[in-house]
Assembly symmetry: C2
Homo-oligomer: 154 residues x 2
DNA sequence: ACCACGGTTGACGTTTACGTCAGAGGAACT
DNA sequence: AGTTCCTCTGACGTAAACGTCAACCGTGGT
């Protein structure tokens, strides 16, 4: 019966790398409905769980509206058999859609891996004979490295 | 040396269920550059292949800009070693991103399947005691079936 | 009492990926 | 020649998902 842990908007944002604006937006869309302490929003553990589902839904490309429907599937106090039946229908539609998408992704990954292989081989066999000039190569590489701010191991 | 097959804009649109507007838009963005017969666009077999890649990229949630970069990876006449190296980098980034996405999708599918199971059981154990009324149930079901045009096995 | 700080509510701006006319041009049938 | 198509080029509109900015509020510290 310990008071369940709660979160401020900023805590959740830091944890999941999103902005307060986004959370309020999800709230506008009915995907979240945190409690209030005066004006301030207080997110419960359940709210946090919902947020995680929302973000995963986004990562797999679902529009917020669809995510909302799916979230409702999990919290069905329900309104009857017909409701449940159509929910099941939507659920299955989403499953088959995601399975198609999985296939697309597998194909894309396969092709990209082939592409990567070819690029590697090209790099390997690409002797100085294909280069503009050793000096140019050197300079181009330098420019590249200078231009890239992040991702550097330095 | 038979003249390679070509396609009008409408033919491609019918084949891939998209609109002429979309194809012209992709052209604006540099993802396609079909030949012309006067004003009219003439799509080659290669253009068609690119379009398929574009559409698959879209299905996995890539923005058109990214798709453009990936397409360029396949057609590298190239500008040197540095170019090829950074291309390889981008390629690998995309691969790992897609692999993460694959995991998300697998998780989402798993959860949805659990949800579907629960819904099925609820439907099974949901005796008339939870129903508004047997008559209402019957009527609601009828309405449902009438409202759904496709997917019906009838 | 004053002020910084984090949070809140509008309201308008922005990007992406097209949809939707409006107006015109060439091919083809009648 | 007239009409019917299909297509083309702008140009403007739109939905989704926030970003950004202004102005306000309550609370803790000094």
């Amino acid at each position: 019966m310990s008071a369940e842990r709660t979160y401020t908007i900023r805590q959740l944002c830091q944890e999941f790398a999103c902005t307060p604006r986004a959370l309020r937006f999800y709230e506008d869309k009915g995907l979240l409905s945190p409690a209030r302490a005066g004006l301030n929003r207080i997110y419960s553990y359940k709210d946090r769980a919902r947020l995680m589902l929302i973000l995963r839904g986004k990562r797999v490309g679902l529009p917020l509206a669809e995510i909302g429907e799916l979230l409702d599937l999990y919290e069905l106090d329900d309104g009857g058999v017909a409701q449940t039946a159509t929910s099941l229908g939507k659920c299955r539609e989403r499953i088959t859609a995601l399975e198609r998408q999985r296939i697309d992704i597998d194909n894309a990954i396969a092709e990209l891996k082939l592409g990567a292989l070819e690029l590697e081989q090209r790099l390997a066999t690409m002797g100085p004979e294909h280069l503009p000039k050793a000096a140019d190569y050197d300079q181009a590489l330098r420019l590249r490295l200078d231009g890239v701010e992040h991702e550097g191991s330095h």
